[in-house]
Each structure stands twice: as C-alpha cells, then as structure tokens.
Amino acid sequence: MKIILPGPYPRSERQIQATRHFDRSRVSEDDLVKVRFEDARVLKELQQGFPYLSTAMFHWQDLMRPLVGIISEARVSHLKRFFETNSFWRVLEFQLSSRLNPEDLQSWIDTYLLADGLYTVQEPIIINLPFLFTFREYSTGLHLDAIASLLEKICHAVSKLPKGVLCFHEPALGCRAISEEDKRVATRFVEKLKGDLSIPVFIQTFYSPLEVADRSFLYDLAVDGIGIDFYANTLEDIMKHFPDSKVLLAGVISTHTTRVENPEKIGNFVEKMKKFLPEEKIYLSVNGVAELIPREVMDDKVRNLRMVI
C-alpha cells in the first residue's frame, strides 16, 4: 500500500505569514526563501517511504499561473472560481502564436519543480499539470487541439526526470459536459505522450461523480494511473470496470473536512479495494486539492494514513 500526494500542498502558517510580510516589503526575499525551504523540507520528511514525492508547489499560485513564465505571448488575467470551491485561479490569456519558450526553461524547472533546490532531478518527484479540459477552463485564446499541442511540448520539456511521475489534474471531468470530439483530442494527446515519455502518467479527477460515459473515457485513456474522489463516487461504481492494468489513486483523504479520517473506515475501504486490485496498484491519496485544507490538519491526515497502512 502506498500514499501519494499530488497537487499543491498547503503552506504552513509561518510561510503564509512570511509571504504576507514579503508582499508588504517587511521581510527580504531571502527570509521568505528560508521559510519556504524549511516548509518543503518538513513535507519531504513526512513523505519518507512514499514512491513519489510532492514538492509542495509552494511557488505555484495555482496549476496554471507559472506557465506564463515558459510560454510566449501569455498573460495573466482575471480571477475565476476554481470549480465549486471557494478559491480562485487567474485565467491565462494566450494567442494563437503562443509557443513554449525554451530559453527560460531550466531556471523555471529549478524554481517551480525542484523546490528551491530541495529536490534533484534524480528524485521521484510528482510533476503536476492541468489536463486539457481544465487548461481550457482557465485560459482563453486557444482551442483544444492547440492546448494539446502546447501541453505536449511542456510535458516533454519538464518530464526529463528519470524517476518522476507526470500527474495531470482534471476536475472538469464529471463537472462539465465534454464532447466526444474533445475526448478524442484528449485520447490522442495521451497516446502520443505515452509513446514519447518514459515516466508514468497519472490523471487525477476529483470533486464530481463520474457517470458511465466519463468513466469509460477515463479507463480507456492510455495513462498509467487514475485518481478518483471516493467522496463523490462509490467503490462499486468505480471498481466494476476499473482496468486492472492501471494504478488507482484512491482519494480517501477528504479535502472537504478538517476531520481526520477514521482509520478503521479507511482500513475497511482498503480491504474492499483489495478484492478488485492487488495492493501494489492501490495508492491512497487526496480527493481534491490538498492546499484547501490548513497545513497542520493536512499533515495530521497524512500521518493518520501512514498509520493505517
């Protein structure tokens, strides 16, 4: 049994305070970096023994924003609610001529993927990116094919980490109507990616119940692992046809409540799950964006889960 923590991790109260002070020029950037580094280091310790490591993404305001640093003719625009949460992303405006800008890539990777140097490219880190439909939801100026093309190039550029895993986030599935043509674009995108990349590719869905058509689309994607929110979906519905060739990222840490999960209930869930998948294919995970839970609580939830397994 494994645990994986995809997506942004919550900042500690100390880092939140330091960020606030930095924004108001009360502390230096060095001071902020020290606090941020220490915060990430504590998280790294918490993940000892995990197959893939969250780098916390403390530099990321959301899953889209930093991409303007490596895409030409991109700008940050207005706020838009992040699906049905009380948090907001900024929409990115692209042009048809927007391209991956390789000049800034290495420093971008160092900053946004390697947590101020806490991690190296040799470590099994999780690289988090929005999947196509979420990318479209929070951008303007590009149709889905162009998004796929751009994301493909981004994935190639940032996935040169031999032991890492690429994890896409797709809360639009189950929440938005996705046309058959869009699903075909997504399917081709993943197939091409899998043909080119040597690292595993996961896709994390969350917040919404997945109807039959969504599940069918998801299970047929050429990804190596699929994340499911088990507070929006029943085990029965999901596991009936879940492909046993794929890893399941079981969203059992709830990001909707600060109540720490009942270990017995998680244990029961795991036992039921083992009837469908071998243990090595079950990764216990979060059911949404971990960042939306206060840090202390999230750490408690992870420690609790460690005890269960």
Binding site: P10, R11, E13, I16, T19, R20, D23, Q61, L79, R81, E84, T85, N86, S87, F88, W89, R90, P209, F230, Y231, A232, N233, T234, L235, E236, I238, A250, G251, V252, S254, H256, T257, T258, R259, E261, N262, K265, I266, N268, F269, K272, M273, N287, E291, L292, I293, P294, R295, E296, V297
Partner: protein
C-alpha cells in the same frame, strides 16, 4: 416605508483606516497614520476630533478603553464619509468587523478556527470548522446597529452574512460524522450532512439575529450570500436557507440579498420562490461591463441578466461601480448604466443603485469619488427620466 425611485445605497465594507487597524493589531502608529486621521477628520467635520488625535498620539500601548474609542471613531468616520457622498441608505463600512466571514464565526458557538487556506494569489482567509451544533452566546449585530443608527439621521442597512455562505466557507466536522469513502450512499450522506448544517445555521443563528434587528426597528437588512452559486446542485438548498433565515420576518423590514461575481443564471427560476420574502436582489454588474457610454446592449454587456428579473416583483439592486479598480466611473457612465436598466425593468421604483460589492479594497479617496459619482449619476438618470 417611503421609498423613492432609484434609491442609492452602499453594499457593506469600506477600507479600515490604518490607525484603526494598527491600534488593534498592536503595530505602532506612525505620523502618517495620525496625519490621515486628522485629514479625514477635518474633511468629514468629525466632532471631538481632538480627543481621537490625543489617543492616537500615544502610537502604541492602547488600553481597552482607547481601543473602544478608536473603534467608535472609525465607525463615525466611515458613516460620515458615506453621508457625504449623498447616499440614501448607508452603513459604517463594517468598521466593527474583521471581515464578513470571520466576524460572525467568531461570535458563534460550535466553531473552531483551524488555520488559513488560500483564496487566490497570496490571499488567505482563516477558515473554521463546525465542531458542534452551531449557536451563539449573544446577538452579534444588535450593538453595532444601535451604535450606528445613533450617529446618523440616514436610513441604515445592515449587512448580515448569510447561512449558505457561512456553511460553504466552513469545514464540517460535526454533521459529516465518519463517512466512509466509497460507501454506497456517500454522496447522499454528505448531502444530508450539509443540509442539516445549513438548516441549523439558518434557523438557530441567522434567524434570531435578524429577528432581533427587526424588533429594534432596523429598516433595511441585507443578507450577504457571495457563495450562493458556488455549487450548482445546491441552488434549492440556498433558496431554502434564505427562506428559513427570514421566515416570518418577511414584511417586517426591507430584506435584500447581495450576491456577487457569480453565474446568476443558475439562480433561476428557483429565485422566484423568494418573491414576497425578499424585497431586493442585488447583483454585481459593473465588473464585467464596458466603460463606454451608451444605453445599448452592445455597451452594457453585463446587464443582460436583468431580463431574468424583469417580470419579477423584486427590487433590482443594480451594481454600477466596479469595486476592483481605481477607475472612477463618470457620472455619465453611471447614468447610462441606470438608464439601460430602466429600459428593461421599466419601473424606477424597482431599481436601487449601488456599487458592485463592498469597497474595502479601495482607498477612501477612491471610494468617496466613486460613490459621489454614483449619486450624481443617479440624479442625471432621474432627470433624464423626468423624476426626482
């Protein structure tokens, strides 16, 4: 209650002056803070300004009595600022409150603050968890209402954060129980927990507070529900929570709801169930509108939702000022936004004119200029319509 056509009001918040913020946060004041207090005090003709300056001159180490006085003065300043703009109905910019979520939660029982979570960019808010059945130990808007209504001759409108927003912006540890992930009725269980949470907050917290305000003659009560359309599957629950919150108080005061930065189409048709319960429905519009003059759909691009409100009995609260920018809307722009709305709603008695939302992200200079132009724009529109 005698209303006039195109009545003007604010929505709630105004920035807190630095001297009020620092006095409570423990940060020493500087000369600039005191200068600002003097400047605005003179501009707003605050009586007994000298006593405020004397207190502020300590710069730090304020006693509880000092803080009480500073708070009263902040409320007075903000109220006078609102009066000076010419608004018909006003509040004190929520000077007594930390902000719209934390303030009521702090007054309630059954909640514990768990830490900060991100809202957007590097902005975080302190989020609480419901750990027991929600209640309150004392009414939490009455003192505020009595203080503010005692310092102004204007009609006052009290913003009250609504049940749905309080619930949506909180975690639930109490009602949710120990729900098992993936269980057969996991969604139903979560939905039931949330409904119970919502009903209890509406019935046991919001209703009594609204009732107490009604009993004291509060004329205008605004239920703030920015979270109303967050979850598209919960519109019925939102409507139901408003019904429970207002209950048999309908008609005893003028009730409005303020919702902003949302997809308002999601509220229809269920919003119509609130006719006869809610008097005014206020939305944000200016944020998405063009800045060009004109009384056409091509110019007034964000006011299309008015079509949904046309044949209802609601007073339409019309947002005409974008609160997220220092751009000062000209009185002509405000006029045109109002005139366009009048073409749809027809009856100017059914239009109340306001900013999109609270003005706490704007400086007082900007807020004041915007609100003055709101009132002047209203007057231009009234003249164009041949009404006073």
């Amino acid at each position: 209650m005698k209303l006039k056509p195109l009545m003007t009001h604010e929505i709630g918040s105004l920035a807190k002056p630095s001297w009020r913020v620092k006095a409570f946060s423990g940060t020493p004041l500087n000369d600039h803070d005191i200068h600002e207090a003097k400047k605005w005090g003179e501009r707003l003709r605050i009586s007994d300004l000298d006593s405020l300056i004397e207190i502020l001159s300590k710069k730090e180490g304020f006693s509880p009595a000092d803080k009480e006085a500073i708070l009263s003065f902040a409320s007075l300043f903000a109220t006078r600022l609102m009066e000076s703009t010419g608004l018909d109905i006003l509040w004190d910019g929520e000077q007594h409150r930390v902000e719209m979520y934390e303030y009521p939660i702090r007054q309630m029982t059954g909640f514990l603050f768990r830490g900060h979570v991100r809202s957007f960019d590097n902005k975080y808010y302190r989020k609480a968890s419901c750990v027991d059945k929600p209640g309150f130990s004392r009414l939490f808007h009455v003192k505020e209402y009595e203080q503010i209504s005692s310092i102004t001759q204007h009609r006052v409108k009290i913003p009250v954060t609504g049940a749905y927003t309080l619930v949506d912006w909180s975690f639930d540890e109490y009602y949710i129980g120990a729900i098992s992930p993936g269980e057969a009725a996991v969604r139903e269980s979560l939905h039931h927990a949330r409904s119970c949470f919502l009903t209890d907050v509406a019935k046991n917290v919001i209703y009594p507070n609204l009732q107490a305000l009604c009993d004291r003659g509060a004329p205008f009560l605004q239920v703030d529900e920015p979270a109303a359309t967050t979850k598209r599957g919960e519109i019925p629950e939102f409507i139901s929570s408003l019904k429970t919150s207002i209950g048999d108080l309908a008609g005893k005061a003028f009730f409005s709801t303020h919702i902003c930065f949302s997809d308002y189409t999601l509220l229809f048709p269920q919003l119509l169930e609130l006719e006869g319960i809610l008097d005014e429905v206020h939305f944000e519009y200016a944020n998405r509108d063009t800045k060009e003059l004109g009384v056409s759909a091509a110019k007034r691009t964000s006011y299309g939702i008015l079509e949904h409100l046309r044949n209802t009995r609601f007073v339409v609260g019309l947002g005409v000022l974008d609160v997220h920018t220092d751009f000062i809307e000209s009185k002509e722009l405000v006029r045109d936004r109002i005139l366009y709305a009048c073409e749809i709603i027809k009856d100017p008695y059914r239009l109340f004119i306001a900013p999109d939302c609270g003005l706490r992200t704007r400086s007082w200079d900007v807020a004041h200029a915007k609100l003055c132009n709101l009132v002047e724009g209203r007057n231009l529109a009234a003249a164009a319509l041949g009404i006073s």
